[in-house]
Chain length 273, copies 2
């Protein structure tokens, strides 16, 4: 997907919400467990119920790998369903991959070509030659971990290298990578106060922002400090949307939360100067 198409979708829907599909068989409604593929049945219902309120979906691969072959089948069915039925949606494989060059190429092929995701999250620890193989794919996006939403983010990411925090070093350095126009970055909503500084380094790039909701981040703070002229933000909510009812109405319950988030976003978009 072209970034311009993503921006157009945001403006049309007045939403920059991503629904995280962290589907957990222990948390989905019990009646779905009778289905042939309960993970896909849950995802399909959530997608159908929220697709007009969000601009993308982000399955976290860990939740699928945890179920082995059955999980991978459900992941394939989910991405195929989105691509066929709602091709305007921006799809994110939240995989946090990264390896030496020839191996990163395999991951890129897996997520961009075989599964046909629009984007994949990538860890920066192994440096330039572990990231660049992902950047070679046209109209595909590589979302580099910069400042994550968890507490452990303070263990390395905020430490100082050459007078600059590690995450800023990642942002700065990655701008010189070949294909850097295909980069986006993960910045946790729990770190909203860091966003002004981040925007000095990457004024335009899209940020994928997890941590609103279950992890305690504030949507308004993120927008205050991180929004650009072209929005530049994708706010993810996973558990906060998915598990609001264990009854037959689970998809409606998910829709209600997504709608609240979309309305908050619309309000922010309408009122910004």
């Amino acid at each position: 997907m072209k970034t311009t198409d993503l921006i157009a979708q945001i403006k049309k829907k007045q939403s920059f919400l991503i629904v995280g599909l962290d589907t957990d068989l222990d948390k989905i409604p019990k009646h779905l467990l009778k289905e042939e593929d309960p993970i896909f049945a849950f995802n399909k219902a959530i997608i159908d119920a929220t697709q007009d309120l969000c601009v993308g979906y982000k399955p976290n691969t860990a939740f699928y790998e945890a179920y082995g072959m059955k999980g991978w089948k459900a992941l394939e069915k989910t991405i195929n369903y989105i691509n066929e039925k709602y091709p305007e949606q921006f799809t994110i494989a939240d995989a946090k991959r990264g390896d030496i060059g020839n191996t990163s190429s395999r991951y890129a092929k897996a997520f961009f070509e075989d599964l046909n995701f629009d984007s994949v999250t990538v860890a920066p620890y192994m440096g330039k030659d572990s990231v660049e193989p992902f950047l070679e794919f046209e109209e595909k996006h590589t979302i580099l971990l910069a400042l994550t939403s968890n507490k452990g983010a303070y263990d390395f990411q905020t430490k100082i290298i050459d007078g600059q925090e590690v995450y800023k070093h990642v942002l700065q350095t990655s701008k010189s990578y070949k294909g850097s126009e295909n980069l986006m970055y993960v910045v946790g909503a729990t770190k909203a106060q860091f966003l002004s500084d981040i925007r000095k380094i990457i004024p335009e790039a899209f940020l994928l922002v997890p941590g609103v909701g279950a992890q305690g981040g504030s949507l308004r703070d993120v927008c205050t400090y991180g929004m650009t002229e072209n929005i530049g933000l994708l706010i993810n909510s996973s558990r906060g949307i998915l598990y609001n009812s264990s009854g037959q109405d689970f998809a409606i319950a998910a829709r209600n939360v997504a709608q609240q988030l979309q309305e908050d976003m619309q309000d922010i978009l309408v009122n910004r100067t």
Copy 2:
């Protein structure tokens, strides 16, 4: 697997070789492509031909994910085959995972419980709470990326934080993680000169060392600077072993290279003071 069992195996076989199963359909002998599952057919032949010369196998998950469902099926068959037929082998899922706590738990479950690997490689960028969920599993090992074999290792890993290189910071910090007795570390063979310093921080922990062979690292240098009383080294070779013949004799050709490595290791073990 207990570390003591791994050490016993090393001493018995006079080998600390790990065979990396980076199986690539473009590189395996053409006659195998007729098999129902060419990836597994190749792996099985390589395993049968090398199992007395090595102490473990390391499939890199990227190579399997690149083939979608077919690839995951082959990965499952491969690990099951090793666990059933050669249970003494130390198995490594080279996955380089790492995510927020509840998600890392899913990855740990996937690799340690469902697939029953003895160990998994993990990226440290997200810090303590992204690593500790892996460390909860008894007799399972978490192999943390410290100093990788690629050029990009110099982008972040060797930069200075608080007067100490990032990779040393990772080593030092990880020692305080809950369950740290289950930690091993990745240190590339191409960085052998760093091993003396590394041993000052982690004198006993096992190191998984990729980069001998195709990437140019030296076995002797690694042993000179990194070996401990209990060996403490697992030397991986993947491409260097796998792809030495495209004919019917491919497994014998792989065995020959593995045997040369095992003999070099035996020579080092016999002659060390």
